[in-house]
């Protein structure tokens, strides 16, 4: 699980982002991309010295200005579960399609890709993902 995949898993979770200049942004992760650019919602920005605060409904942070992100512990556990579930799915699928012959490579890859997209769709607000909505409720 790569660092950026973990970040993607952390969508809809609260997190703290510290920029290189020392400012920190607390908010819920809405989305992120391969450059670590992120969108946050319900943000509280804190100045470098921790003496000034700003509230904003949403904000965009360019990935290159980030020093680090702190995410909740449970996100790592979610990743572990997800990998186990995914592997299990893959075993079953490849077991069934095993005798396919020439097209076998493609068949094996497809279920995994679908799994990825399913996960991402579910974590978007309003999506019908199985795992994320309960978390969201608990947090708010």
């Amino acid at each position: 699980m790569l660092p950026l995949s973990l970040l993607r898993t952390a969508q809809n979770h609260p997190m703290l982002v510290e920029l290189k200049n020392g400012e920190t942004y607390n908010g819920h992760l809405v989305s992120c991309d391969n450059w670590m650019n992120i969108n946050l919602r319900e943000v509280i920005c804190t100045s470098r010295d921790g003496d000034k605060f700003w509230r904003m409904p949403e904000c965009y942070i360019r990935g290159s200005t980030i020093k680090y992100l702190r995410i909740p512990d449970e996100v790592i556990d979610m990743v572990k579960e997800e990998t186990i579930v995914k592997n299990r799915g893959r075993e079953q699928k490849s077991g069934r399609g095993g005798g396919g012959g020439g097209d076998r490579q493609n068949q094996r890859n497809r279920p995994a890709a679908r799994g990825n997209f399913g996960g991402r769709g579910g974590s978007k607000p309003g999506g019908q993902g199985g795992r994320n909505p309960p978390f969201q409720k608990k947090k708010q």
Binding site: M1, L2, P3, L4, L6, L7, K20, N21, G22, M36, R48, G63, S64, T65, I66, K67, Y68, L69, R70, I71, P72, D73, V75, I76
Partner: protein, 137 residues
Amino acid sequence: MNKPELEGTAHLLDELDKKLMVLLRDGRTLIGYLRSVDQFANLVLHKAIERIHVGKEYGDIPRGVFIVRGENVVLLGEIDKEKEDNLPLTEVTVDDILDAQRKEQEEKQEQQKLVTKALKERGLQLMGDLMTHDDMF
């Protein structure tokens, strides 16, 4: 069991799941278990703490999970479990170490003011901007 030496970032793969100390460019020290790495040396640190040193004292602040952007890392290394148990340093509470850190920073600032003043009297002007973190981009 002679593995071929990995180069560059690939070296970090050897450190997976080990307890590492990571020094950031802003001078902070993080200690945690390395769970993941990518080609930019972005790191995932699990069960991380921030360790603050002042003189011979140190304090640990629990921080949880970090995703550190690789470019902010100065150095990292595995923590020797045996040496960790007999450090020549004393652990103090978080509050105490934060107090000590604040005092140390104030003293440094005072010192800096004196230096600036002395230089100014001799016709030299220190660039104030150089003392901030804004040039770290």
